[in-house]
């Protein structure tokens, strides 16, 4: 009962400046199957999907794609759509004010003759037919904004199918869904499979992968490392395949003199940004000691970032819990207070939340500590210059001068500027959210060295990271989060990437 291959790639190689994102990837999807695509963040899944979607035109990579044996060249998303590929992204692309029908037939609405006037009757009938055919219980006249995320996703799927898609790619489809919605989605995938639609299911949630997929392809470091039938693969084995790489000695972690507790969090809750009543962080408590690096691991959406950002006072109205610094209970109601208590936060997205991109390197470094560089309101340039020079050389920020606009620096150097900004405030505790994301290997190693030195100086460090080797190698202790709760604490000597992945994906 071997099905014919519908989508196949041969030796796809895609380079970004300095990085090989995909390394001669060969990949097969069979007709009517659901294929699970798994791998760590940065393994190359999204790059491969962007090649399938036509977001990267054919001349920007090597290798070939074929559909049903025929060679395809995708120069734009339109080509890929015509060939029958549809992708449902994590972030939905619907217009909230329009109805279901208007969204599905956007830009190709049935019109009355050639007048350009929309034939609303026909529009709604066509949509109703479509929705009925795939058993989606949503009115075609409902406005998108009145639908739950789960239903919106179904509208996206219906829209994809209305283009006669043969291949449906679902990118982390359940990350924003409630449990019931996940069940409904999985049922729908089942019925689509029965109708002969082939699907690629990308997910970090291994439970779902085992439940719904026929086969699994594992990617790691831009390569496909395994393609097998799902029943042949055990959970442990799959995790091992995902993380299996050697840790080189780029991690200079040394045992620092860990002493008294500097930061303690008790019973922290954080509200979900969109879903009223839901929490993204549920009753989290932990302690950080001086000189200790505490790693926080978990999948995307497990509440890691929200945890550290709320400790920093970024959304005081939406979090509750107790925070103690140096044993004293503190109330942090804005980032300014957090800084005064000796906290620093290196945010996950440095471009959106970490840097003022249009400002100079020096101005960014001193942004959080201008008070101590000023006489009343007046900035004392000499003091500012000295401080900037000190941190630029200490962190080896590569820029032409302190007056270079930060935007022009490489990712690694931008990240160093963010870190420099926080070091300049003399923090007692540094919260690092994905400190090495989008940073090249050399700068990564420098950041690790810096973290080690800082811990040596008695700073407590909390490091949120999706990079498992980094978490395992740099942390003294690892806290693992799953769906908002802290599910496991591992000591340095017992932590392995496999164990972390096991707990982070909901294993018990």
């Amino acid at each position: 009962m071997e099905n014919p291959v519908i989508l196949e790639t041969k030796n796809i190689t895609k380079d970004f400046p300095g990085v090989r994102a995909l390394d001669s990837v060969s990949f097969q999807l069979k007709k009517g199957e659901v294929l699970g695509l798994v791998g760590e963040n940065g393994a190359g899944k999204s790059t491969l999907m962007k090649i399938f979607s036509g977001a990267y035109p054919a001349n920007t990579y090597d290798g070939e794609i074929s559909i049903e044996g025929k060679r395809c060249i995708f120069n734009s998303p339109k080509d890929s759509q015509k060939a029958g590929i549809a992708i449902i992204y994590q972030e939905l692309n619907l217009i909230p004010e329009l109805t279901v029908a208007e969204n599905i037939f956007l830009a190709r609405e049935p019109t009355v003759g050639k007048t350009g006037v929309i034939d609303r009757k026909k529009l709604f009938i066509q949509t109703k037919d479509l929705l009925d055919r795939i058993n989606i219980p949503i009115s075609s006249q409902e406005q998108i904004k009145n639908l739950s995320i789960g239903k919106q996703q179904m509208v996206e799927i219906a829209k994809a199918l209305s283009y006669n898609a043969k291949i449906l790619i679902l990118d982390e489809p359940t990350s924003a869904l409630t449990e019931q919605e996940v069940e409904v989605l999985l049922k729908m995938i089942d019925s689509l499979r029965a109708r002969g639609v082939s699907m690629i299911y990308i997910s970090h949630k291994l439970d779902e992968i085992f439940k719904i997929t026929d086969s699994v392809t594992v990617m790691r470091d831009g390569k496909t490392v395994s393609s097998r039938r799902t029943p042949e693969l055990g959970r442990q084995e799959m995790v091992a395949l995902m993380v299996g790489r050697n840790i080189e000695d780029m991690y200079p972690k040394k045992e620092a003199g860990i002493s008294d507790v500097i930061l303690e969090v008790r019973g922290l809750f954080v509200d979900h940004p969109f879903l009223a009543g839901e929490k993204v962080v549920k009753d989290v408590s932990f302690k950080v000691r001086r000189g200790e690096i505490v790693g926080i691991s978990g999948l995307m959406g497990s509440g890691r970032s929200e945890l550290v950002t709320s400790i920093f006072g970024a959304f005081p109205a939406h979090s509750s819990g107790e925070i103690y610094i140096g044993g004293k209970r503190v109330k942090i109601s804005c980032p300014h207070e957090a800084i005064n208590y000796g906290l620093g936060l290196v945010t996950e997205d440095r471009k959106l939340f970490g840097l003022v991109l249009g400002m100079e390197v020096g101005e960014n470094i001193t942004l959080s500590c201008l008070e101590k560089l000023s006489w009343h309101q007046i900035i004392i340039r000499r003091r500012e210059g000295e401080l900037v020079n000190k941190y630029m050389s200490a962190l080896r920020v590569k820029a032409r001068s302190s007056e270079t606009v930060v935007n022009t620096l490489s990712g690694g150097n931008q990240q160093k500027v963010v870190i420099a900004k926080w070091l300049a405030t003399n923090p007692k505790v540094l919260l690092l959210d994905e400190p090495t994301r989008g940073v090249d290997v050399a700068a990564k190693a420098e950041i690790y060295q810096l973290m080690t030195n800082l811990a040596g100086e008695g700073i407590g460090i909390v490091m949120v990271s999706s990079d498992l080797p980094e978490v395992v190698s740099m942390s003294d202790r690892i806290l693992i989060m799953h769906e908002g709760s802290m599910v496991k604490e591992l000591q340095k000597n017992e932590a392995t990437q496999e164990k972390i992945m096991f707990y982070a994906t909901g294993g018990k």
Binding site: H336, L355, E363, I379, R381, R382, S402
Partner: protein, 373 residues
């Protein structure tokens, strides 16, 4: 790399000095077309006085626009504060000036409060305030101009500061500016080896020296008109605040990335509120200078002043999306508009066409700005 050098130097000069070169060309052209009538002491002082009212507004507007906001209410506030100042004349000039500035602060503070507290776009709030302030001006004045201002109130626009005092103060300010400039260069702690940088440094000094020379020449005529002195003082203070103070740094940071600024510990709401408040106070100062010049509070004055101020800021190279700009640029922008207005008057060009020309210049300046980026 090599053949890029020349064109990038050119682009750099255009980028940094485009509006200044534009102003110089405009002045030269106007002077030629008017057979030198434009470039006389009497006329230039006139231009300076005309520019002052708009220039004071442009300084405040620069701050507002750098934070990413806009203030459409300033024209109406000019009229309203002019009326308030006129009504307060019996209380004495000092009280009138002080209370009028308080009124400006209250109006600006209201703008800032609604913008920050309820996160309503400043465009909407200040559009509402524009109508409210105009209405209040008409109510307070019963729709009539209020004349008969105190003589010493009129002095804030009409009197001349004697050449001796003007030159002494001016010299002192120049000295201070040069001192700060060099101290900053020295302490920024790295050498500028590139020729392009030196070249631009030389250009900088040339332009400033030329402007100073013209100013000295004008002061020599009858002294410094008080209104102009107020304007130049505010401009100097504005530039100093933006470049040398924490508040100024925060203004740029907020305009560049509000969320990152907040997470860096900046009290974003307070800074934004203060910016609108300063704008209100400056609108009041501008309103009083205008009232003194007209010798009356006029409820229908100041119409479209907000647009002249915004145009000055934009011509001066400040980004409407915030985060980037300078007071110096806005002043150049104000002079471009002032020169244009005055030149066209001297040439007896139909005022209707003047409006069109002004619009074309504004759009042209912004297009040039786009191109440079």
């Amino acid at each position: 790399m090599k053949n890029q050098g020349k064109s990038s130097l050119g682009r750099m000069i255009i980028g940094k000095y485009g509006n200044l070169i534009g102003l110089v060309v405009l002045i030269a052209l106007t002077t030629i077309l008017t057979n030198g009538m434009f470039f006389t002491q009497r006329n230039l002082i006139n231009v300076l006085r005309q520019v002052s009212v708009n220039g004071i507004l442009a300084v405040g507007m620069t701050l507002v626009i750098i934070t990413g906001g806009i203030d459409l209410s300033v024209g109406s506030v000019v009229a309203l504060t002019g009326i308030i100042a006129a009504l307060l004349q019996p209380q004495g000039t000092v009280a009138a000036i002080a209370l009028t500035m308080v009124a400006g602060a209250v109006i600006g503070g209201c703008n800032g409060f609604f913008v920050t507290k309820f996160r309503i776009p400043s465009f909407i709030i200040t559009l509402g305030m524009m109508t409210i302030a105009r209405g209040l001006a008409l109510v307070f004045s019963k729709g009539e101009a209020i004349s008969g201002l105190n003589d010493n109130f009129l002095a804030i626009s009409e009197s001349y500061i004697s050449p001796f005092i003007s030159l002494t103060v001016f010299g002192f300010i120049c000295f201070l500016a040069v001192f700060i400039y060099f101290k900053e260069r020295k302490s920024s702690g790295y050498e500028r080896k590139l020729i392009t940088f030196n070249f631009i440094g030389v250009l900088n000094i040339l332009f400033i020296a030329a402007a100073a020379a013209v100013l000295v020449w004008l002061i020599g005529f009858r002294g410094m008109p008080a209104g102009v002195a107020v304007f130049l003082g505010i401009a100097f203070l504005g530039a100093y605040t933006l470049n040398q103070t924490r508040f100024g740094r925060y203004v740029y940071a907020i305009g560049g990335n509000e969320e990152a600024s907040r997470l860096s510990g900046i009290n974003v709401k307070a800074v934004k509120l203060l910016v609108f408040l300063i704008m209100g106070v400056l609108a009041a100062v501008s309103g009083m200078v205008l009232a003194a010049r007209l010798n009356s509070g006029v409820p229908t004055s100041g119409v479209m002043f907000e647009l002249d101020a915004i145009a000055s800021v934009v011509i001066g190279g400040t980004s409407l999306s915030g985060g980037y700009g300078s007071v110096g640029g806005s002043i150049i922008g104000a002079f471009i508009i002032g020169t244009l207005n005055n030149g066209m008057q001297l040439l007896h060009i139909d005022p209707f066409y003047q409006e069109i020309a002004k619009g074309v210049i504004i759009i042209g300046a912004v297009l040039m700005d786009r191109k440079k980026k």
